[in-house]
Amino acid sequence: MPLDVLIEAMLFYQSTPLKKASLRKLFDVSEADFTHAIEQLRSRLEFGATRVVETDLEISLTTAPELSEFIESLRKAELKGDIGKAGAETLAIILYREPISRAEIDRIRGVNSSFILRNLLVKGLVERDSVGNSYQFRITPELLRHLGVTTKQELPRFSEFMTAVDSFNPETA
């Protein structure tokens, strides 16, 4: 079985985001082979109903963004909720700087972010890893699903945003 099919099978069977590192370990493949297989999978699925959503660490299989209205019509009315100004701001910072500590987020926002981060964690839009004494925050495939993109680079204005932040020197950025 080609690697891209095995990965698809795994994602389809689990139907939840999976760690790329564990998949690579399971199939015992190099990073290059793995990345290549993901590319193959992406292009094979292009005209179908499903898409591969990918963050730095995780990967997941979801319905295509063009189908959102159709799927919503199948679901019982459910509040999607608004992330709010503070939530969006915190997500913007994590999207650019991940993995990032709470202290750094607080510094950029000029305000304590622990409440908002807890909220985003509970919603599954970010996740945290314990690094030494503190936590590092990252985005999740769940967030990308809510934004209707398969990678963060696909976000409208993402590259413009990256360039703008990059133009700041590293100690203030």
Partner: protein, 247 residues
């Protein structure tokens, strides 16, 4: 946001700003200004009025707003009163504020597009259907002592709102205290009738307004500042013969 639910229903609802940078950028943009010393000096009064309002309503994070107010007042004082000497550290803080604000503006702009995008075009994971065949696979962790430990961990990790509030109160200085200390410092450099003004004015809030008004007078050229020799007291006079002299 969450604050509306904790503030009593009888308090006046004002636009809520979670952070000081958010408020500051809003004031600068409202005037269609670029971020620089001039625009920051220009919005200082309004920023302070807003923080004073927040303080009265005991909104959260006021301490952080006040810290930033102090920097803004330095910027404003310096722009109106170029003789005011700033330490290197203060110069750096002022410079950093502009940079922080510009960077914040970039994140905030991007956040606005994220907020608009969020949930508008969802991609869905399959609905989860649990397996039909009933299994029962307890493991070594499925014991009462392990679960009690788990519960202990959960309770240890619950946010402790009260502890945080106490910590904030301790470090918080009021807007008035901050203004007072800056006023005293300017008085040390420049002789004015601040003392007199303060004695006649029982309302602390009005002292602030008076202080800002005097700074404003300098800008408009209604006061004359004379410094006879370097390091000597600065003399301030009104620019019109009719008005009483300040020293």
């Amino acid at each position: 946001m969450f604050v509306t639910s904790t503030v009593s229903p009888f308090s006046i609802k004002t636009e809520y700003f979670e952070g000081p940078l958010e408020l500051l950028i809003e004031l600068v943009e409202k005037r269609k200004l670029l971020i620089n010393n001039i625009s920051l000096a220009e919005v200082t009064d309004e920023y302070i009025a807003k923080v004073s309002e927040m303080q009265e309503q005991s909104l959260p994070n006021t301490a952080q707003f006040i810290t930033l107010a102090a920097t803004l007042l330095l910027i404003k004082s310096k722009s109106l009163l170029p003789v005011l000497e700033l330490s290197d550290e203060e110069e750096t803080t002022i410079h950093d504020l502009e940079d922080r604000l510009r960077l914040y503006q970039i994140y905030r702009d991007f956040a606005q597009s994220l907020q608009a995008e969020f949930g508008s075009c969802m991609m869905y994971e399959p609905v989860y259907t649990p397996p039909r065949e009933p299994l029962f696979l307890p493991d070594s962790l499925c014991t009462i002592p392990t679960l009690v430990e788990g519960m202990e961990r959960i309770i240890t990790n619950l946010p402790k709102p009260n502890v945080r509030q106490v910590a904030t109160v301790k470090q918080a200085i009021s807007l008035e205290e901050m203004m007072d200390s800056l006023r005293q410092r300017i008085e040390r450099q420049i002789k004015t009738s601040f003392f007199k003004m303060k004695a006649e004015e029982p309302e602390r809030k009005n002292v602030i307004v008076g202080f800002l008004a005097i700074l404003e007078l300098f800008k408009q050229g209604n006061l004359i500042i004379t410094q006879i020799t370097r390091f000597e007291d600065i003399q301030i006079e009104a620019d019109r013969a009719a008005t009483p002299r300040y020293y």
